[in-house]
Symmetry: none
Amino acid sequence: MQVNNVETLFKKTLRESDLSAKQQAVLQVSLNLFAEQGFDRTSTSEIAKAAGVSEGTVFKQFKTKEGILKAIVAPVLDHVAPMVASEFFDELKNNNLGDLRSFMQYAIQDRMTFAIENRQQIKVFVQEVIREPKLIVTLSTKLQTVMNGQIGAVLQQFKDRGELVDWSNMRIIQYMVGILGSYVVPQVFFAPTADFDAAKASQEAVEVLLHGLTPVK
Amino acid sequence: MQVNNVETLFKKTLRESDLSAKQQAVLQVSLNLFAEQGFDRTSTSEIAKAAGVSEGTVFKQFKTKEGILKAIVAPVLDHVAPMVASEFFDELKNNNLGDLRSFMQYAIQDRMTFAIENRQQIKVFVQEVIREPKLIVTLSTKLQTVMNGQIGAVLQQFKDRGELVDWSNMRIIQYMVGILGSYVVPQVFFAPTADFDAAKASQEAVEVLLHGLTPVK
Amino acid sequence: MQVNNVETLFKKTLRESDLSAKQQAVLQVSLNLFAEQGFDRTSTSEIAKAAGVSEGTVFKQFKTKEGILKAIVAPVLDHVAPMVASEFFDELKNNNLGDLRSFMQYAIQDRMTFAIENRQQIKVFVQEVIREPKLIVTLSTKLQTVMNGQIGAVLQQFKDRGELVDWSNMRIIQYMVGILGSYVVPQVFFAPTADFDAAKASQEAVEVLLHGLTPVK
Amino acid sequence: MQVNNVETLFKKTLRESDLSAKQQAVLQVSLNLFAEQGFDRTSTSEIAKAAGVSEGTVFKQFKTKEGILKAIVAPVLDHVAPMVASEFFDELKNNNLGDLRSFMQYAIQDRMTFAIENRQQIKVFVQEVIREPKLIVTLSTKLQTVMNGQIGAVLQQFKDRGELVDWSNMRIIQYMVGILGSYVVPQVFFAPTADFDAAKASQEAVEVLLHGLTPVK
DNA sequence: AATGAATGAGGCTTCATTCAT
DNA sequence: GATGAATGAAGCCTCATTCAT
């Protein structure tokens, strides 16, 4: 299992942008500072200092503090998120996951690890989405596509074999996300406990999920 | 089903405090303003104006802006939350919910409605908990007590009758919260859709829950 | 001839306002600084320092830098200008100016001295009017009233006696202002020469005016 | 009557300078921007954008923002103004204006139209002169020369014929400028009314002037 | 207890200017 | 000659907090 790292992918995306090295630094440190302290509690002078850049430079490119946030969110939505998604689906395919249990096992542990390892970045995004509900539209469109496409095919296959209840994909995924969330949200948003055992947690989550998603004959 | 209203209970608690009418007003409008705009984006002068009070008055009692927040959070934790909890359990008892389905039906719809109706207040609290992780300790202690006490008894009863899987209470509740969350979180934190149908959503959630929590013969 | 002093009248008006001593100081020094350096070249920190006040104080009351300017212009328009006008007309009456020459002599020298002595303040106003053409409306309304009222009566009297050409008051006054301006504008806006001789200049202006305003028999 | 256009003459002067096309563009748009918004309210980046030029280019040649202004004012004073003056005098001569009335008629209407049509440019200059009183010296020297030269001759001719009062040229011109100003200043600096009728205004001004400048027999 | 004027630190942003390419 | 990223000083303004009344 090779979990993707948002920060790395973000840096890669930046490198391919036409931003100067300094501007890239601004976005990089901003992402981290916003994650640590929140958008409102991070000052632009703090960003400038952390990026080793004058305060003027911060505004030359991004115009406003809001602009910095948008310059982070946009490429993540446009480039990083698709990369994360496709990597995830490729892994699913390449690991030849024959039965529902193997599938769940892999998917849940992978995504759980992903969430834990990228919790800082996830925090920034969730906070931004709360602040700017318009993003929901973009996000849910993307999600819809993915669900009807790649995931849909996989789930259908299990439904056909009678391993998976015959609910709508939307409902099944909401179910999986709900359970995953019950393990992940406390770690990401509240108390990140050092001794969190992703393997054990995901095993437990999978058990619950299989119990709930197996058709009653 | 008579869902409790946090704002009303909060006001009631304030009235029983030894705060002057003006100080009470400060806390009341602060709760609303924090919910609408967030703590950082709400200024003390805004609070003063909305409360019909001078700026000095705001600080006379609460010393700092943080102090206002604490003066809101504390009574909620100490009085409102317990009231909400005990009202909830009383209802559960009084409605004589014989089987697991009835119990789930009632509990889920009740809490879902509660979350939707008090979403502003819930937002303040969740945001505050994210900001100040120390609160987690207090909260989880309280939760632990409740779970081992009142809820524990109810769940045990269903387990004994073979209607409920024999998992730990903690796990069952996490499961329920996860499912509930998958319906409620989007409504509370992201896009509060006007046409959200709590009755239908809770019915669906209950179905999922029963499917997953019924022991496999 | 007792020429009125705008700065003094402005201070008096301020004293009767409900502004605190510090706020009054802000307006007073602002008037002077704006006159000396212009609105754009005067910084708010400069104003604060000159008024012996913190920068916050400046904004507490006047909200914006523009607000300071408006807080100066408004009372001048509403109180100082009317006082200046009525003092001027009272003097005209009390000096019992029988013939046109005496009238002109008095009026021109009085207004010329007024302009020279208050040139700083006049500069602020003219600049402000150029910046904010809306003020023109207010000003011209006031002017219209005065012209049709007090001045009109005086001029009519000279017309009746055949001492003054039978032109419209508007035209006569424009004429007088034009001539006066040709002496005063250079002094007020360009090069205030120390050796400007108001007595001589006004005498010359009067001569020109009489020449041009006496009916050709 | 073919009134000269300052902007056109300025462009022509620029074309004959050794400035590159881009540098010329900088000066051209600066003149317009300064006129519209004033020197202080126009930023160098605004100039660069409007001129379709990089910010560096603006400073490469003109060193400072002040430098841009000087690079505008100097050629106007050295080339445009003389061209305007000589064109004006040529017209006066070529139109064979026999009597004082014809002369006045032509001169006043011509200059009034000139002022109205070039009001933007005049504003820049007047504002600059207010800002930088040193220019007055240069200007008044030039003016002196012109007055004692070309205009002096013309006026003398009318004096000789007894059509014009025997005042000093300076005084007569100040008189004419005063009257002209009373019509032109409101249009240029305050409220440029669309329905301003230059023909009618100049006729009225001439009437006043003749009345005042004709010797009393 | 309540007021509201006053504070000054700090926030975001603009701007003229420089300099490596 | 031209570019445009980078600078950092300074500008306007906000804010939490204090204090005399």
